[in-house]
């Protein structure tokens, strides 16, 4: 079910009305669980069984870590993490294994190729892992706060934590210690309507007006169509795709945050104006924050982070980024994408130890443009997962100088990308000159709402759904 579909709007309205009716106040969590299961099962009802299985792994493992034999605590945690990862590997990466290791037609290979990719599995698996580790390590809260004594209550809370519909299929990846501690009865008068409105309007604007329109303009990046485009057209399409992927995913995250707020839950920001970054390190602190913080906390630090010498730090960065790349999709091109980002981070770290650049405004702009250009070029592997096609695209950039220009395509890419640029630019102005847009904010949001109604693109699935 898409956030942009009318059936979803109906589901949210019905859930919202029932949620705050005094009659159902004690059943608020149950109500959200039912809505979430309806939401998840809408397109492929059978896959709800997989979600329930994944949830049950986490219910049992986390409960035994707290209330099982204390001597076996570590084993329960390892089993919980391993089972979560096993499920992800089996369902998400089976086709990749089949393509890589079973070249000839083979019954095992054929079987693995038929595995369906359950929507959102990468997101809810990571949430499950965060639960098991948070309960085991007790780094943030006491494990008793996350796992109540009553097994039934615990099961209900975990089903809610993993299944809560705003974040179920495309994140943000909510960590157990951030979410479970918020579970309590919610009141209508506590809703922060202004924030809800702002998050939802900005989210839908970025998704429906910017990303959905750019989607039909950057369609021509697909093979073999890009071969017929001019150099300038190709560069603009790549730029447009970079803006599209931001608008699509940041838009989804903003809608998710707004919807969660509507039901009294707070998610952390998932994007913090990533395209103003002047370093790769900064980019990953601003882009898909819930994933990068997850990888840092649950992978980079356990590997030793930067505490085990320079060489080991570079290796750790590469491992984290390659695995992070593969998390995005079951194709080697995603690993290559992660490798490029890992390499950029490692080189940046190496150079920052050797060279000191004065932080002038020009240096900042140059560094910002370099980071944006690199990130944008790397997105090409998302659009063209076949590496050969991606290389061919780059070749065309250098050879198609004389091809006729499609002025309309370029104009519309500029027009639909400009909100993404202005969004970042307004943030920079606010930050640098302490200017507040509060007085005109509601006029602006009204205008965005107007554009959602009259200028939305054709409905398309969120890019991150495939992950």
């Amino acid at each position: 079910m898409l956030f942009t579909s009318s059936i979803f709007i109906v589901l949210v309205i019905i859930t919202f009305v029932l949620y705050y009716i005094p009659l159902f106040r004690k059943q608020q969590v149950s109500l959200l669980i039912i809505s979430s299961l309806l939401f998840y099962s809408y397109n492929q009802p059978i896959l709800v069984l997989l979600l329930l299985f994944s949830v049950s792994i986490n219910i049992v493992s986390s409960y035994y870590i707290v209330y099982g034999n204390p001597n076996n605590k570590k084993q329960y945690a390892i089993a919980g993490v391993a089972l979560n990862l096993g499920l992800l590997l089996f369902f998400k990466y089976s086709p990749l294994f089949a393509k890589t290791f079973f070249k000839e037609s083979n019954s095992i290979g054929d079987f693995l190729l038929t595995m369906p990719l359950p929507i959102g599995i990468s997101f809810f698996t990571f949430q499950g892992i965060s639960l098991v580790i948070d309960v085991y390590k007790e780094k943030y809260v006491n494990s008793y706060e996350l796992v109540p004594r009553s097994f039934l209550l615990h099961a209900k809370q975990i089903l809610f934590f993993k299944g809560f519909f705003p974040q179920l299929i495309s994140g943000p990846i909510v960590k157990a210690h951030d979410f479970i501690t918020q579970i309590k009865q919610k009141n209508f008068y506590e809703i922060d309507w202004v924030s809800v409105f702002k998050f939802i309007v900005m989210g839908y604007f970025l998704k429906m007006v910017v990303a959905d329109n750019l989607k039909d303009l950057t369609f021509w990046i697909a093979f073999p169509y890009f071969q017929a485009q001019s150099t300038i057209g190709l560069l603009f399409m790549l730029f447009g795709y970079s803006c599209q992927i931001f608008a699509d995913f940041a838009g989804y995250s903003l809608i998710a945050i707004g919807l969660a707020k509507l039901f009294g839950y707070n998610f952390k920001d998932n994007f913090n104006f990533p395209y103003i970054s002047t370093s790769f390190k900064e980019f990953w602190k601003r882009w898909h924050i819930s994933l990068s913080s997850f990888l840092m906390e649950y992978l980079y630090f356990p590997l030793g982070g930067n505490k085990k010498g320079k060489i080991r730090t570079y290796i750790n960065l590469m491992i984290v980024m390659i695995l992070g790349g593969l998390w995005h999709g079951a194709a080697w091109s995603y690993a290559v994408w992660g490798f490029f980002h890992g390499l950029a981070l490692a080189i940046e770290r190496f150079l920052s130890d050797k060279i000191v650049i004065r932080a002038t405004i020009f240096a900042k702009i140059a560094k910002g443009l370099l980071v944006f250009a690199f990130v944008t070029l790397a997105w090409l592997l998302f659009k063209l997962p076949n590496f050969e096609h991606a290389v061919n695209f780059i070749q065309c950039v250098f050879t198609n100088f004389s091809y006729a220009e499609n002025y309309q395509l370029i104009t519309y890419i500029i027009l639909y990308s400009s909100p993404v640029i202005l969004y970042h630019f307004a943030y920079l102005i606010k930050k640098r000159f302490f200017i507040s847009f509060k007085k005109i904010e509601f006029v602006l949001y009204g205008f965005l709402f107007f554009l959602i109604i009259v200028n939305s693109g054709s409905a398309g699935a969120f890019i991150y759904f495939q992950f």
């Binding site: 009318s6 007006v209 329109n213 039909d216 303009l217 369609f219 073999p224 071969q227 017929a228 300038i232 100088f401 004389s402 091809y403 006729a404 220009e405 002025y407 309309q408 395509l409 370029i410 104009t411 519309y412 500029i414 027009l415 639909y416 009204g446 205008f447 709402f449 107007f450 554009l451 109604i453 009259v454 200028n455 693109g457 054709s458 409905a459």
Partner: protein
Amino acid sequence: MIVLLLAYAGFVIVAPKWWHAIQNQWQGNLVKAQQFIYTKDTYSNVIVGSSLANKILSDSLPNTYNLSFDGLSIYDGLEILTHIKKLPKNVFIETNVVLRTADTNFTSGLFSPIQYYSKEYVKALRDDEQPIAIVGDQISWRVTNKIINRFKSIFYSPPSANNKPGGESALFQKMLDIQVKDYSKIPDKLKITESFTKLKKYVSELKDKGVNVCFFEMPVNKELINLPSATIIKSKFLTDFPQTKYTYILVPDSANYTTGDGLHLNNESAITYTRYFKESIKNYLP
């Protein structure tokens, strides 16, 4: 927001329509479909097809609407016909691209109750009235082309003969090679059966409602004509829709037509084919 919406709705109704705001292929298809669905006119002839038949200039054909869509299939046009009340007398179905399946998002979006009725009564919500599309249409011809041409004139020489339309350019050869590869594949039998079963259903529904169905084939590059994909589909048509029972507009000699990529007629040939199509309608139809 409401004030803005009302003002814009008024503007769309009152202002003379000087714009032609098509910003991308999908939106172009939607505009075309919406203009057909919401029109008060009745058309005698409707053409359904893919991007190949979309080259036919229906403005030059009397009382004809071209319901062919770029990137979509004949089934999208046929599906639209199942939803409208005033059916045409004749439906012309392109035979080149029949294995491409319908895009359910396209027609379901057009006929979902909220979308259908809101766009029927509030013109400002239709796809050809999008404000950004209108602004972009104006800018692209007044500003973008001038800036890019100035930029190009500084950095490199004007377009060379390498990009001659319909000619022997490297790009044309590249695209033709892709089509040859595609047409050389033997189509999947199951796919053929499914497609023709679906087509028969649509055709029989139209015939039951008294609509005359006529098939036609768009000319393509001569290198493609005898490749397996083309010949198999052609013989399947003649088996399932025999010429004794159905009317066919014969495909003209490909040698007289030029394409930009092996499949799609260039502008000059599109005019030639439209003339041929116009004559054929007169000759073939009762």
